[in-house]
Symmetry: C2
Subunit: 226 residues, 2 copies
């Protein structure tokens, strides 16, 4: 029973990886760098993107929004004149708690790839399953909000291991919390040694320039189309 | 393909409900009231329980801890001399993002039901899947932290509909946020008309007495064993 379940899960993830590779090929052909942005609900993915989309040194950014239901985040970003495509994960089910490669594949025809240099995929707010499903991205970045406490790397290690950058958001709230930033960073280091972190506040703008520079460099690192 | 997936999911949920009913029967036989406590990661489930377990008017409380990995929360509660049983959802998989009835069933032999009046099940931090899986509980309660923003009821409506009480936690942080409490409460009302809410702060203790009274009454409402 247990072995069977493991085999089924492995099969699902294998099938997902095959579709993710096809997505990646499409993104590479179009010369678009893709960042999969993940976090718990309410950690500030959309707020940080609202801060980020301006002054990107001429880089043309688009967003693919993953939500169980609704288009609240997409509407917020569209109001900043960013091309936004919405995926809702709820049809035919109680709602998927993550994006998978097939959902992104279905959305690709609606994304104006030829007009973009950078596509940020805002995943469903969840620290578990999004880390298990590659969607064809080049980079995986997560946000960990200081209000979530210091222990999240130890409780959700796969997410912290799957990403290559942790944005520690809501840093402006630290004076109002019983929160030890050194302990959070030590826990990040414990589960993913050497992982870069950046302290940011989507509210005050602190650290956003560093994150913007990271994105600009990420676009530079991906080969442009022939 | 789509129909097949829906049928498989319905089958999984049907099987889950069957096991949940068996759990419920065991809880009823033991005269234990069971509350399934759900929230996003870092919303303060454990911190609130730490505040709650004292002064429960003689009610004997135990906790069943659901985590992907580790026993950090269980250790915190055990240090308060509360009987705690740990479920880890990660064996044989990348980690389940929710508790299901079968996981709880496997844990029941380790729970000292005869010594308890109230069992709080602290679910995995996630606003999607925990709402889909009943585990045999009598009551479902969720925590929505003010730091998560006002829009969560609209983005995760199933969770807000599945519960019968919303604890709005971290209320002490409102002065430091761009947050409209009235808007959050209106969004709760929009997706689940009439749903009771309580403002609490696990940090300052504000509102915890009201939550404690709710638990005491919940224990009173469930019939005691013959």
């Amino acid at each position: 029973m247990h072995r069977t379940k493991v085999r089924i899960v492995e099969g699902v993830l294998d099938a997902n990886d095959t579709i993710a590779r096809a997505n990646r090929a499409d993104f590479d052909d179009a010369g678009v760098t893709v960042v999969n942005l993940m976090s718990a609900p309410g950690a500030g993915k959309t707020s940080l993107l609202e801060r980020t989309v301006r002054n990107l040194e001429g880089i043309r950014i688009g967003v693919l929004e993953g939500d169980v239901q609704g288009s609240l985040d997409a509407d917020r970003l569209a109001s900043l004149h960013v091309p936004v495509t919405q995926i809702n994960t709820d049809p035919g089910f109680g709602g998927e708690c993550h994006l998978d490669a097939n959902m992104v594949r279905s959305a690709i025809p609606s994304i104006p790839l030829e007009e973009l240099d950078l596509l940020v995929i805002e995943n469903v707010g969840n620290l578990v399953c999004p880390a298990e499903f590659r969607v064809g991205e080049h980079h995986r970045v997560m946000i960990s909000s200081v209000t979530e406490g210091e222990d999240k790397p130890l409780k959700y290690p796969l997410m912290f291991r799957a990403c290559e950058l942790v944005l520690v958001n809501k840093i402006d709230l630290v004076p109002h919390l019983d929160f030890d930033l050194g302990k959070l960073l030590a826990n990040v280091e414990a589960v993913h040694p050497g992982m870069p972190t950046a302290l940011v506040s989507a509210r005050t703008g602190e650290g956003v320039e560093e994150w913007r520079r990271w994105l600009v460099q990420a676009v530079g690192r991906v080969a442009q189309p022939a």
